[in-house]
C-alpha cells in the first residue's frame, strides 16, 4: 500500500465517521465537532488529489471559521439544558429511505457517465487557482468578494438589537 492510498483510506474513514457524528448524535455541540472532523477528512481527500491549497483553504474556512461561528450561534441560541424531544421512528426510516435513494441515484449517475480517465495530477495548485481567478473567472472572483462583504454587513445588521425607541 502506497502512502497516497493510505492517506486516502484514512481521510475517507475520517470524513465518513465525522459526517455520521455530524448528523446522528443528539447533542448539537457534538454535531458541530463531528462536522469539523468530517471537514478535516475532506481536506485529506483534497491532499490526495494534489490540491494542497484547496485542502488548506477548507481547513481554514470550515474547521477554523464556520465551526467556531456555529459554536457561537449555539451558545447564543440553543438551550442546551433542555431534554431533547424523542425522535419519531417513522421519520428516521423515511429520511433514511429518501437519503439512500438520493445517494444511490447520484452514485449511479456518476458511475454510468462515460468519463475519459486521464491521469495528470495537479501541480502547484495555488498559482493555478490564482491565475484562473484573475483571468478567466475574474467576474466570479469579484462577485464572491461582494457577496462576502454583503453577507458580513447583513449578518451584523440582522442580529443587531434595535434601540427601544425604535420599537421591535
Amino acid at each position: 500500500m502506497t502512502w497516497g492510498s493510505a492517506v486516502f483510506v484514512v481521510s475517507t474513514v475520517t470524513a465518513l465517521l465525522g459526517a455520521l457524528a455530524a448528523v446522528g448524535m443528539r447533542n448539537i455541540f457534538h454535531n458541530i465537532l463531528g462536522f469539523a472532523v468530517a471537514m478535516l477528512g475532506v481536506s485529506g481527500l483534497f491532499l490526495t488529489l494534489g490540491a494542497d491549497f484547496l485542502a488548506l483553504v477548507f481547513i481554514l474556512v470550515y474547521v477554523g471559521a464556520v465551526a467556531i461561528v456555529m459554536v457561537y450561534a449555539v451558545m447564543l441560541s440553543q438551550p442546551l439544558d433542555q431534554p431533547p424531544r424523542p425522535r419519531s421512528l417513522l421519520k428516521i426510516f423515511g429520511s433514511a429511505l429518501v437519503a439512500g435513494f438520493g445517494g444511490l441515484a447520484v452514485w449511479g449517475v456518476l458511475r454510468s457517465a462515460p468519463w475519459h480517465p486521464r491521469g495528470a495530477p495537479l501541480r502547484d495548485s495555488a498559482s493555478a487557482a490564482g491565475f484562473r481567478f484573475l483571468t478567466d473567472y475574474v467576474l466570479a472572483f469579484e462577485l464572491i468578494s461582494v457577496l462576502l462583504v454583503v453577507a458580513m454587513m447583513g449578518a451584523v445588521m440582522i442580529t443587531r438589537r434595535r434601540a427601544p425607541a425604535e420599537g421591535r
Binding site: A19, A51, F58, V66, L104, W115, T159
Partner: protein, 101 residues
C-alpha cells in the same frame, strides 16, 4: 486511487447530508448537513477535473467558489437563527409555523 472511489465517497457524503437535512429538526443541525452536501460536491468536482476533465485548475476554482458561497450562507443563516431564537425562543423547525394558515 481511481475516479470511482472518489465519486463513491462523494455520493456517501451526499447521502449522509441528505439524511441529516430531512431528519433533523434543529436549524443549526440542518445547516451542518447542508454544508456536508456542499463539501461532497466539491470532492466530486475536484476528482472529476483531476481524473477525467480537461483543465485541472477548473475544479479548484469550482471548489473555492463553493467554499466562499458556503461561508457567506453560513454567516447569514446563523444570524437569522439567532434572531429567530430571540423572537420565538426556539430553533426547532416544527415550531416555526406562524405563517401556516
Amino acid at each position: 486511487m481511481t475516479l470511482l472511489q472518489y465519486l463513491s465517497v462523494a455520493a456517501l457524503l451526499f447521502g449522509t447530508g441528505l439524511y441529516g437535512l430531512i431528519q433533523r429538526r434543529n436549524l443549526v443541525a440542518m445547516l451542518i448537513a447542508l454544508e456536508l452536501m456542499l463539501a461532497s460536491v466539491s470532492i466530486a468536482a475536484m476528482a472529476l477535473t483531476t481524473y477525467a476533465g480537461g483543465d485541472t485548475s477548473v475544479g479548484l476554482v469550482i471548489a473555492l467558489i463553493i467554499a466562499g458561497v458556503a461561508a457567506a450562507e453560513t454567516a447569514i443563516a446563523l444570524s437569522l437563527f439567532v434572531v429567530i431564537q430571540r423572537s420565538t425562543h426556539s430553533i426547532d423547525v416544527e415550531q416555526l409555523s406562524e405563517l401556516k394558515g
